[in-house]
């Protein structure tokens, strides 16, 4: 669709849209920071920000001003190029992911036919920025954090993509807009509960949100790759984190919850569609914050094991079941039943994984080192 908005030159149109994105993203991220602080405060049985502006609404603004005013430090031994460009490498792919997000009918930056492909390709790029930041900082916490981030991203990319794949199998398209439109009767979560759950978990890992915040684990690696950053560079990481949180929530609502279409999206017009998107995304965001307030962090081996041994096989299973149903043209209710079965399987496998005896090489090492000392 080369036609630009308001009939403008496509290049100019593209520029306007990108500027809108940047503005919108920044405001969204700041709003999300405020919301997260307020909601977390409520979970903590406290009130959250309340001194800056009415109900503390200007807290994010104050934070932003403070961060901009701070000195942008670089450790002497840091690798200048990787250190300075790390934040951009995190930030830019997240913004690029915004391009295909469907907010209302006809109101995404671009409707790409390979929208899902594009999103997956772009969103996994930001991990390079994490590793760059981790390596370039010349800090061991940062390096461990960067390595953890890389390991985690590679592991969770697979169930992430596979559960996306099951959705597009069902709808027969990779175009996110068409996926949304195809849910005008029933949202995909009804047909694909397992894929939704896997996608949600994998999205948490992609976002490095608890319980998968291992790369930045505050109590272990003290912020991981960000440990040496300050001022505006650090705030870019921060902004990127919340921007990707928003994007991921919009995507989940578009793919599984019917996006702007279900219920009555087309009938009630564009304003209602926007409201639908926002409400659904807000629900997802609230869920993510809720998870953050209530669960501890996983350990790196548990995280990897969970991805490779539980999520990946189950998401493959989901793809297989989808294929089976589509090829033999079975009624869709089979998908629902299979999906619910899959969810039960996932939960019980998780339960069993917790009860497993821990594999450790603690005792042998202790005897070794004590013999040495």
């Amino acid at each position: 669709m080369p036609e630009g908005l308001f009939g403008l030159n496509p290049w100019l149109d593209g520029l306007i849209r990108l500027l809108m994105i940047v503005g919108l993203m920044t405001i969204t991220a700041m709003g999300l920071i405020y919301i997260e602080r307020k909601v977390l405060g409520r979970f903590h049985a406290r009130v959250g920000p309340q001194r800056t502006g009415p109900f503390g609404l200007l807290q994010s603004l104050a934070d932003a001003l403070k961060l901009i005013g701070k000195e942008d430090l670089r450790p002497r031994n840091a690798d200048p190029w990787t250190f300075e460009f790390g934040p951009y490498m995190v930030f830019v792919p997240i913004f690029l992911g915004f391009v295909v997000q469907p907010f209302m009918a006809g109101f995404s930056v671009r409707v790409l036919d390979l929208g899902i492909m594009y999103f997956v390709a772009v969103s996994s790029l930001s991990i390079i920025g994490w590793v760059m930041a981790g390596w370039g900082s010349d800090n061991r916490y940062a390096m461990i954090g960067g390595m953890r981030a890389a390991a985690q991203a590679i592991s969770y990319e697979l169930p992430f993509v596979l559960s996306l794949l099951s959705v597009s199998m069902l709808t027969g398209t990779l175009n996110i807009n068409e996926i949304v439109l195809s849910q005008w009767q029933v949202p995909n979560i009804v047909w694909q509960p397992l894929a939704f759950l896997i996608f949600f978990i994998a999205a948490l890992a992609e976002l490095n949100r608890p319980p998968f915040d291992i790369p930045i684990g505050e109590s272990e690696v003290v912020g991981g790759p960000f440990v040496e950053y300050s001022g505006i560079r650090w705030s870019m990481f921060f902004l990127g984190e919340y921007a990707s949180l928003f994007i991921m929530s919009v995507l989940i609502s578009a793919l599984f919850l019917g996006g702007y279409e279900w219920p009555f999206g087309t009938q009630l017009g564009i304003g209602f569609q926007f409201l639908l998107t926002v409400v659904k995304a807000a629900m997802i965001i609230f869920l993510i914050i809720w998870v953050r307030a209530s669960v501890p962090r996983l350990r790196i081996d548990q995280l990897m094991g969970y991805a490779w041994k539980i999520l990946l096989p189950l998401s493959l299973l989901q793809v297989l079941v989808n294929g089976f149903v589509l090829v033999y043209d079975l009624p869709r209710i089979v998908l629902t039943i299979a999906g619910i079965g899959g969810v039960i399987l996932l939960v019980s496998l998780t339960e069993r994984a917790i009860r497993l005896p821990r594999v450790t090489h603690q005792s042998s090492l202790v005897t070794q080192s004590e013999a040495a000392s």
Binding site: L40, F43, H44, A45, R46, R140, Y141, M143, I144, R148, P210, P211, D213, I214, G217, E218, S219, E220, V221, V222, R292, A293, S294, V295, P296, R297, L298, R299, I300, D301, Q302, T350, E351, A353, I354, P357, R358, V359, T360, H361, Q362, S363, S364, L365, V366, S369, E370
Partner: protein, 374 residues
């Protein structure tokens, strides 16, 4: 998993310096970890950043001035620390503590145990990675206890309320109802932690089977408190060498057999329930009366002698070894710190575990650096 056989790709271990400024070291504790990927190969702890020479200072102060140093030695359970010290002085000076003072002391030390364990719950929850929630929950309930202490002693942390012979002054008239209020709050806090952490799958996965220490090793390392009771050793000074009135009431020594981080957590949680029980019984037995002995000398002097008094503080055995050569000052005062002995076993418990585990093992032995370094 990194195993020995992976070494054909010549890898280099990384030295990771944790602390003295680190969110999980609970103060100025430093350890240098040699890590192979994520596996800890060697841990070298460094302590002493908070050494203030409290023992030496106490030798230059008279007995009553020493109480303040005990507060600062173990600031999360100052009442327990004071108790050991004043009991040592009382035994040396042959002072008889009145009934009422003993019951009040018992209530106070058990309440302080509750406050201290709540602090552990909060800090440990954050170590394991719950963002802030357990910390604020713990803080809320601890606040109730601290408020009560403030009403009684006038200070929120450094109470200096116990005196050789009894108490500095009597408790306020609304003491009993206030303690009951606090107990209600604490009971709610225990229930909250039960709901938030005890049954949490990820919490269990993170803590079960981590940092295991056997009963024999724990004894050999001189561990004490919940850390050794979680390994199945029913070592509790309150039961084995009862002081105050612990013999007159019903309570249980909490032990578990697993010896891992989860067991240490559960031990503390159950101990809090026991403490609530103890305080309730004490409140029923509390009678009006004197809080100081009748003939209290204006200047407290002790005959020559020595004594090692031990009491069960929240973190373990808090011992005070007091040597007197007569006069109004100790000749030598040694604080036996439970944290120091527990911390010694850290290396044994962490080598071979993951970096993340090493930090929760450190959290699970619940150190207070000012007590370690004194």
């Amino acid at each position: 998993m990194v195993t020995e056989s992976a070494s054909e790709f010549e890898t280099q271990d990384l030295l990771l310096n944790v602390g003295p400024q680190h969110p999980s070291t609970h103060g100025v504790f430093r350890m240098v970890m040699q890590v192979d990927g994520e596996v800890v190969r060697e841990v070298i702890p460094y302590i002493g950043y908070l050494h203030r020479g409290a023992e030496k200072l106490c030798e230059t102060m008279d007995y009553r001035q020493g109480i303040g140093f005990m507060d600062r030695t173990e600031y999360l359970a100052a009442m327990n620390a004071e108790l050991s010290y004043v009991m040592a002085v009382e035994t040396l000076a042959e002072l008889e503590v009145p009934e009422r003072a003993q019951w009040i002391r018992m209530i106070l030390v058990e309440l302080n145990r509750l406050a201290s364990h709540l602090m552990f719950m909060g800090a440990f929850g954050v170590d394991v990675g719950v963002f802030g929630t357990p910390f604020i929950y713990a803080w809320r309930e601890r606040e109730a206890v601290i408020d009560l202490f403030e009403e009684i002693s006038g200070d929120r942390m450094m109470y200096a309320y116990l005196r050789p012979g009894g108490l500095a002054w009597d408790v306020p008239t609304n003491f009993v109802p206030r303690v009951r209020e606090v107990l209600t709050a604490v009971r709610q806090g225990i229930a909250d932690f039960d709901g938030l952490l005890t049954k949490n799958e990820i919490f269990i996965a993170r803590t079960k089977g981590v940092g295991v220490i056997s009963a024999a090793d724990a004894i050999d390392f001189g561990m004490s408190g919940p850390s050794i009771r979680a390994s199945g050793v029913p070592l509790d000074v309150r039961r084995e060498e009862p002081y105050l009135k612990y013999n007159d009431i019903n309570w249980n020594v909490i032990t578990r057999t697993e010896g891992d981080v989860y067991a240490r957590y559960l031990c503390r949680l159950d101990e809090m329930r026991e403490s609530v029980k103890i305080v309730e019984q004490c409140l029923e037995r509390l009678q009006p009366g004197a809080i100081m002995p009748e003939k209290m000398p204006r200047m407290l002097r002790t005959p020559p002698g020595e004594i090692y008094v031990r009491t069960e503080a929240p973190r373990g055995e808090f011992g005070v070894y007091l040597v007197s050569k007569g006069g109004n000052r100790p000749h030598r005062l040694k604080v036996r710190s439970a944290c120091l002995s527990n911390l010694q076993a850290l290396r044994h418990m962490t080598i071979g575990s993951y970096v993340a585990d090493a930090l929760i093992v450190l959290g699970s032995i619940d150190i207070v650096l000012s007590e370690v370094d004194r």
